[in-house]
Symmetry: C2
Subunit: 261 residues, 2 copies
């Protein structure tokens, strides 16, 4: 519904929201930070951050690490994440699919999902020529920057897409502005064709292939992608797409199916 909640000025933030904002921020930074630094960088009152950090420390959600009072994500989060992974048991099948893709194509293969209203690489298998991939596993990236993004929002209406994606995420990394209507047209095209491919707009030398992995609700719960050198990708387009579709078929309905019961 309200994708952006922190727009009103002079309003107090809810502790829970702030807490998860802190956790997400630490995940993005991927390093331990002092409460003071966190407060400054997320633009939250220092006293609130100190209070919340202490609460989270007591719960094992955060841990002291790196010295100097720095904190990072805690063990409890690992346990909770492991329980999620155990329930929605996509990991094993996912790894097998990536393995298969890597074997057949020798290219870099990725398993991607939405993280809130952004895109993230959940698992990756490096290809035979491991060139520098621009997005690391676990980093969240604006949806419009990625081929997978076209598939992951395809179940939403045009208006829902516009509400869902933060407006500033249509600003591409090279500074250009991607017209939302252009993006939506690509989404609809991807939806019809059941795939999306393009020359990456994050770098200037890769071609990206994405196909949907469908969940219980029938829409794309995740995607499988290949990231290839541009020449290679264009030369092997049909074969690569076949490999992707085959691998995705093996995962379909898996990501949201409980392990048992």
């Amino acid at each position: 519904m309200d994708a952006v909640q922190d727009e009103a000025a002079g309003k107090r933030a809810r502790g829970l929201d702030r807490a998860f904002e802190i956790l997400d921020f630490l995940r993005q930074k991927r390093q331990a930070l002092k409460p003071n630094e966190i407060a400054a960088q997320i633009g939250a009152p220092r006293s609130s951050v100190y209070e919340l950090v202490n609460l989270l420390l007591q719960n094992g959600i955060l841990e002291f690490t790196g010295g100097e009072g720095r904190v990072y994500l805690g063990r409890k989060l690992y346990f909770l994440g492991a329980a999620y992974e155990n329930h929605f048991d996509f990991t094993r099948e996912c790894e097998a699919a990536l393995e298969q893709l890597a074997d057949e194509t020798r290219e870099t293969a990725q398993f991607c999902m939405l993280d809130g209203n952004r895109y993230t690489v959940v698992r990756m298998r490096e290809g035979a020529r491991p060139f520098r991939i621009s997005t690391d596993v676990g980093q969240s990236v604006p949806i419009p920057w990625t081929a997978s993004g076209r598939l992951l929002v395809a179940h939403l209406s045009d208006q829902e897409i516009l509400n869902f994606i933060p407006p500033q995420d249509f600003r591409l990394p090279n500074g250009e502005w991607l017209e939302p209507q252009t993006f939506i047209a690509e989404v609809r095209q991807a939806e019809r064709e059941g795939l999306f491919t393009f020359n990456s707009i994050v770098d200037s030398f890769t071609h990206c292939f994405a196909v949907p992995v469908r969940g219980e609700e029938g829409h794309a719960a995740a995607t499988l992608c290949l990231v290839t050198p541009r020449d290679d990708g264009i030369a092997n387009r049909d074969r690569y797409l076949d490999c992707l579709k085959k691998a995705a078929a093996g995962l379909d309905h898996a990501p949201s199916r409980p392990k048992r019961t």
Copy 2:
């Protein structure tokens, strides 16, 4: 400090604490539940639980699954847990150690840690005779019930141990009462010897071996364990302990060492 905080009557619970209580409860249950059921089973006001569940749903911390409005741990927790695992990169080395133990002993090997003030099996490798192990991976268990428990609290003073472990956890599964002083004596013995072994008090047919894996602070951050049939365990005691110590030495200082930086 204050291990038990929900003792005072007529006091409001803090949303954050309640929220993580809900998450932990779902993890213990390992299944999706309706908000109503959660409220009833953790003894929290229904209106509060509905409010919190909705907040957590909006944040992706919880997800609808299983129909009928049931909720379970969400994808965001998986991402946060993965970030923790990536930072404190014990997984790879841990798996190798378990593999090695399983090869050398053919017995069930476990990697265990504290989860707050209880004990949990983080990873397990089934042995050649996979009999029914009483504790599953991810379930949390009273510290006094386990061999590892003796090692995991050994860095605390006697008084700290008593404050740390919930009093009711000294009630053993067979109904007997384990005198805290007896437990503490065993803790000190384990600390001196750098190991603890006993016939399991959870079941009646296994023998347990535990050795510490030391973290940066020098005390047991985790343990490696073997769970064996009693005869086997007693017959091979010395060899098994050697295997454990060797494997633990390979992990020492690893659990809390960042991958890089």
